[in-house]
Amino acid sequence: MSAVHQDSPSTADVLLDRVREMVLPCLQCGTCSGSCPNEFAMDYTPRRLWRLVLSGDTEEVFNSRTFALCSACYSCTLRCPRELPLTEAMAALKQAASRLRSKAYRPSLAFYENFVGSVRRRGRVNEMEFMTFYFLARMNPVLPLRFTPLGIKFMIRGKVTPTLPGLGGSRSLEPIFKKIEEMEAGE
């Protein structure tokens, strides 16, 4: 934890500060950590993450996988004695991390972006196209192999068809996405 005062805050600091505002009254009672169903997979328990957020430890926060693993079940929010918007704070961290394109969050980001990209083009997700672009984005030749057994199952069920992906599509949802982009830019 850094205790040195920074004079010119970075974008990351500004983004983190918004999250900090959300969890300031935290008592560190640990109800959130106890309630979290995904806690077993997290590198920091939610309480520790909030501790890091409150301490202004930007780097460590954005290097953590904790918020990426939040499945927004709202257990912590419902139980927090301070009525803090913890699920929203987790979402805010996800958004901040995506804006910062932080390293630890890149795999998740690749997933989201290609998923949404496919939806944007076609109005629904095309699994084959989405998978292909996702694997390309991850630039990891071994990764597709890890998903092979799942892919075969999908193929047998007819969920995925071995067609070549393309960038075509009706793009009928385009106005909605444009509007969202405008709104985000205006923020």
Binding site: M1, A3, V4, H5, R20, L24, P25, C26, L27, Q28, C29, G30, T31, C32, S33, G34, S35, E39, F40, Y44, T45, R47, R48, R51, L52, L54, S55, S75, R79, C80, P81, R82, E83
Partner: protein, 1141 residues
């Protein structure tokens, strides 16, 4: 003696109400104590044990001198005092007028059972067919609709729960003494007129209202209604708005013109509610919306009935009103639902647990888990359920639950043995009082588990049948533990009805609905003449409630005093008992047969004849049931006829007769010591053999008769009172106490060692709540300086003191002047305290390390500019809450928050770290903790095993500590390290001993009893307040000073103090001056006369314990009323009858 004649109304007969009422009664005021419940004692009626003694001890609140004026038995069983009128089942419904002359409307529930006639036999409950949950046992047991409100009250008549009662009348038939009358004649005389054009509406309304016992007539139109009103007078008209022909509003207008006293309730459909509201402007009382809800209709009419014609409604005049309405608890179904309260039988509230361990509880005192009635092996307490919880809108700490939970854990271990596993799950363990930390340490040492964690889930564990508690520990590890019983420490809320009461009286309430005291005067409400006692203004434990009660009594006393008193009738001064010392004992013996229930074969006539053989017995009568009014009257008549000089009753529990005997004593002009009651029936219970029974009766009566014969009837001596107070210490506590006494017209001498008044308020500027202490001190000092009755000696010190309550002589020395003697009747020690010296954490070596006081002073002088601070570390508990200063100083956490918030306000970019063990922001101070968190102050918890380290670092300080959540070391480069050093008292042992007061192990004033007599010393006449007593915030110090002043006023208001009946004396001729009695006397009531060397007894200080008589080898020390001759005769009688002689 001239008596004060003003009277006060005390609302709420819990301990705070009792304390306020007794304080006022003992000061000579008439007091009316009311409670809406049917029993006194409030919440404490349900609690058998209180920490730190883990026992009761409520009786210690009873008057200490002129004891005959009040009851002297278990206070939980009941109370009386000559100046006190107690009315149960009574509420305050309106208050008009102004301070000194309030007109209060009191309304008592009609008693369907005559309490005087009821024997308490319970036959009615036997036959009652209605069963409802018993609120006394928190609903864990059932009771009948006719029941005893609390099992231990004395006398204890049955009452009827009028909500549950179906008026079936079975109990009326069963009652052997015809004490029950379910018929309320007033109702039938209460006439209602129902006006509606729809027959079905009229009919159903009529039926409901007739069921409730009222007389109901009907009218089908407006014209008919007016005609009927002209014929017969009605009390209430229920009037439909929309009718063909004349509409309701028109009927209302005409009816009100002709009959202005008529109460009208409009009936309206939802669509015409606006019209109904309009109708209320032209005189309608209220409105009902169709379709009717009978649940609403009945109470509305009931209320009108009660207000207009209800029995037990009375308007009385009072000089001041003290509200001691207590605190309630959050609804456990709401705040405890997530912990399975209500859905799993083994999840209980702390109050339910209290009942589970009570001998009068559902399990008879065996601690069994509710699901299967087996003893639990593992019990968990969950703290902060509905406290410190935004979800239930409780941004406050309930202040009592931590100590409550510890006490319960200890009692559980005591009950079930050391194999019981206990765990308290908490966020901060708030052992904030002066002796609380050691209690916590003791509790922990005795094996109670303390886990800093908040339980997130409680789930049934099917395998073990227990409850699985899941939580994350400090390090983040997820844990599951199985418990058999889970106790929820449910948070406090305003008592039910607080908001209605506050609205009716026009009192301000705070954000959470608790009445708001005015500024730094905690007992003063927002309406003049109304005072807040006990926990009514919120979140106080017993000790603080009792102090608050004293403060409220003091304020009420002053209000009545300033108004000139004069409201209550002056009591005719009784002529006093006649002198019977020269008469031969002539005893009237009354034997109660207890309606033939006690040993049916026993021949009472024979016993009476046997007794009459004793020459001291003048007359013996046998009464069927002495506890009934008729029974007692027959005794009184006989007594008036015979004019005996002694009366002996053989009946049941003596305290049933205490008050009646006293009154009989006055009627016969006999000293109370000459009348006594003996409990025969308890001893006779279970006895079947006539011979044994007869022996028992003769032995029991004979023993008391022997004592009565030899009763010492000499007149009691009195000692004059010097009606002046001495206040030692000129800080805020001393000044407040001095003003409180002087405002009552008694002179006060204040002795201050410093050169200026004000004590710690000279450096403290603000409270956490933002009140200016500077202004407060300024005003207080100005008043003291101007007060004609207050003399300040400064700088001056106490040289020596001697004396007792009512008459002290203290030598003081003012500067270099010659010592002088002050005579005074009461002493208030308010010598204060200060910040403890601290040398840890590099203080003294590192310039950046300062104390809270230094921070305050240096920011005040401009030496430190908060705006220029970038990194500030505050270390709490620097030297406190561990040996040798093992107590919480209470003020340091709030001070740290105030200072941190001040820094953040001046410079939001500054980083402030507060390193703490447990944040002690009890009560409403909790909200400032939330604010500090919100302002970005960082709080890091540490334990004594891993204290922070502070090292010098180029003009700054480097603070290193282990962050427990991240499990890593943290280093902070701090511009400033502020240490919370805590409070030490300035009371030196010599000074305390000069006044006969004791010090505790930390050098604070040792109170007579921390809960029940918190400002008294064991030596009567010496009181303490402020930091010399215990660490506490300014506002509580003010309350304590006022409470101490009120205790002193009890003495100063008297011209003489009467010696108690039972005191020790010395038979000088037999005394060998071995001085053993001096060591044995716990009250310091004995001393050696310096002139002739004989042992003297101070009769005011003597408490009549008899320890001296027991150690005296020569029988020279005797206890009046327990002289050898009488005692030996008593023993002889006991032996004779027991051996069958």
């Amino acid at each position: 003696m001239k008596r004060k004649t003003g009277s006060a109304l005390v609302v709420g007969a819990g301990i705070a109400g009792i304390r306020s009422a007794l304080d006022l009664a003992e000061t000579g005021y008439g007091v009316t104590l009311i409670d809406r419940a049917d029993h006194p004692g409030g919440l404490l009626a349900q609690l058998d044990h209180q920490f730190p003694s883990d026992a009761c001890g409520m009786c210690k609140m009873l008057p200490l001198f002129e004891k005959e004026s009040a009851s002297q038995y278990c206070l939980r069983k009941g109370l009386f005092h000559d100046n006190l009128e107690i009315r149960l089942g009574t509420e305050l419904t309106a208050l008009e007028g102004e301070p000194g002359r309030f007109q209060a409307t009191l309304r008592s529930r009609p008693a369907l059972i005559d309490p005087v006639r009821c024997l308490g036999c319970g036959d009615c409950a036997q036959v009652c067919p209605v069963e409802v949950p018993d609120a006394f046992n928190e609903g864990m047991t059932k009771r009948k609709a006719v029941y005893l409100p609390i099992p231990h009250a004395i006398p204890n008549p049955y009452i009827i729960d009028q909500e549950a009662c179906t008026l079936c009348g079975e109990c009326v038939k069963a009652c052997p003494v015809q004490a029950i009358n379910l018929h309320d004649e007033g109702r039938a005389a209460f006439r209602l007129l129902v006006v509606d054009d729809e027959l079905i509406v009229r009919d159903s309304l009529k039926e409901w209202l007739q069921d409730a016992g009222f007389t109901v007539d009907m009218a089908g139109s407006g014209e008919e209604a007016l005609a009927r009103l002209a014929q017969t007078p009605f009390d209430v008209m229920l009037l439909d708005i929309k009718m063909p022909g004349m509409d309701g509003v028109e009927v209302l207008r005409r009816a009100k013109e002709a009959h202005p006293d008529l109460t009208v309730i409009m009936i309206t459909a939802y669509a015409t509610v606006d019209t109904a509201v309009e109708a209320m402007k032209i005189g309608a009382q209220d409105y009902l919306i169709k379709p009717f809800d009978p649940e609403k209709l009945a109470p509305m009419v009931e209320k009108v009935y009660q207000d207009l014609k209800g029995p037990g409604r009375e308007v009385r005049e009072f000089g001041a009103v003290v509200l001691a309405c207590g605190t309630g608890f959050a609804d456990p179904h709401e705040v405890g639902a997530r912990y399975l309260y209500g859905s799993h039988p083994n999840v209980v509230t702390s109050l339910e647990f209290e009942r589970l361990i009570s001998g009068a509880g559902p399990t008879g005192g065996l601690l069994l888990r509710p699901s299967d009635q087996t003893p639990p092996r593992r019990i968990a307490w969950l703290q902060c359920v509905g406290s410190r919880d935004m979800q239930s809108e409780a941004d406050f700490c309930s202040s009592i639950c931590c100590m409550f939970a510890m006490k319960e854990a200890r009692l559980a271990v005591e009950k079930l043995g050391p194999d019981l596993e206990t765990a308290i799950f908490y966020m901060d363990m708030r052992s904030f009082g002066q002796s609380f930390q050691r209690y916590r340490d003791r509790t922990e040492a005795e094996g109670v588990g303390f886990r800093r964690a908040r339980i997130h889930t409680v789930a049934p564990d099917p395998e073990s049948g227990g409850l699985r508690l899941s939580y994350a520990d400090q390090s983040g590890c997820l844990k599951n533990e199985i418990f058999d019983l889970v106790v929820l420490s449910v948070g406090a809320r305003p008592a039910s009805g607080t908001s209605d009461l506050a609205e009716m009286l026009g009192l301000e309430v705070n954000a959470w609905g608790f009445p708001q005291p005015r500024g730094l005067t905690p007992a003063v409400s927002s309406r003049e003449g109304i005072f807040l006692s006990g926990s009514f203004p919120g979140l106080k434990d017993i000790g603080d409630s009792v102090i608050q009660a004293g403060a409220a009594a003091q304020k009420a006393s002053l209000t009545i005093h300033n108004a000139g008193g004069g409201l209550a009738l002056e009591k005719p001064e009784a002529s006093g008992p006649r002198d019977v010392s020269q008469e031969i004992p002539r005893t009237l013996v009354a034997l109660c047969r207890c309606g033939g229930r006690s040993v049916p074969s026993l021949d009472w006539e024979r016993e009476a004849v046997a007794l009459a053989g004793d020459p001291a017995v003048a007359e013996t009568i046998i009464i069927d049931e002495l506890c009934t009014a008729a029974g007692w009257e027959s005794l009184a008549k006989q007594a008036e006829k015979d004019r005996p000089n002694r009366v002996l009753i053989g009946a049941c529990l003596p305290y049933v007769y205490a008050r009646s005997l006293k009154e009989l004593g006055i009627r016969l002009a006999l000293d109370p010591i000459l009348l006594d009651a003996v409990d025969l029936h308890t001893s006779l219970r279970g006895v079947t053999d006539t011979g044994t029974a007869s022996n028992l009766v003769r032995s029991l009566l004979g023993m008391t008769l022997a004592r009565l014969k030899r009763a010492d009837t000499r007149r009691l001596p009195t000692a004059p009172v010097t009606r002046k107070a001495l206040v030692v210490g000129g800080g805020i506590a001393g000044l407040t106490a001095a003003l409180a006494v002087a405002d009552h017209g008694y002179p006060v001498e204040v002795v201050e060692t410093a050169k200026a008044l004000g004590g710690n308020l000279r450096w403290l500027t603000r409270t956490l709540e933002g009140d200016s202490l500077r202004d407060f001190l300024g005003k207080t000092v100005a008043r003291v300086e101007k007060h004609p009755l207050i003399t300040v000696h400064m700088p001056a010190r106490i040289i020596s003191s001697a004396g007792r309550a009512g008459s002290f002589r203290t030598v003081i020395r003012n500067g270099e002047e010659k010592p002088r003697t002050i005579e005074h009747g009461a002493t208030i020690l308010a010598v204060g305290g200060g910040e403890a010296p601290v040398e840890s954490y590099g203080r003294g070596q590192i310039p950046a390390v300062i104390t809270q006081k230094e921070f305050e002073e240096r920011t005040g002088s401009g030496d430190i500019d908060p705006a220029a601070l970038r990194n500030v570390v505050m270390i709490q508990c620097a030297g406190t809450r561990e040996e040798p200063r093992n107590y919480c100083s209470r003020v340091c956490c709030p001070t740290a928050l105030r200072q941190a918030l001040a820094i953040k306000e001046k410079n939001p970019a500054a980083s402030v770290w507060i390193l703490y063990r447990d944040i002690m922001t009890t009560g409403f101070a909790e909200t400032y903790y939330t604010q500090a968190r919100r302002a970005g102050v960082i709080f890091i918890n540490y334990e004594t095993s891993g204290k922070p380290r502070v090292e010098p670092l180029s003009g700054h300080a480097l603070v290193t500590l282990r962050e427990p959540l991240l499990q890593r070391d943290v280093q902070i480069e701090a511009d400033l390290v502020v240490l919370a050093a805590g409070v030490v008292p300035a009371l030196d042992r010599r000074l305390a001993q000069a006044f006969g007061a004791e010090l505790d192990e930390d050098g604070f004033f040792e109170e007579a009893e921390s809960k029940w007599r918190p400002v008294d010393s064991l030596k009567e006449g010496v009181f303490a307040c402020g930091l010399a007593h215990s660490p506490r915030p300014v506002v509580e110090t003010v309350a304590m000073a006022e409470a101490a002043a009120q205790r002193a006023l009890r003495i100063l208001c008297r011209e003489t103090l009467r010696v108690d009946r039972v005191v020790a004396r010395v038979r000088q001729a037999l005394c060998s001056r071995c001085e053993r009695c001096l060591d044995a006397c716990a009250y310091g009531a004995r001393h050696i006369d310096p002139e002739n060397g004989s042992v003297m007894v101070d009769e005011i200080m003597c408490q009549g314990c008899g320890a001296c008589a027991a150690v005296c080898p020569n029988s020279a020390a005797v206890l009046t009323g327990f002289e050898d001759q009488g005692m030996l005769e008593t023993i002889e009688t006991a032996l004779n009858t027991a051996l069958g002689y």
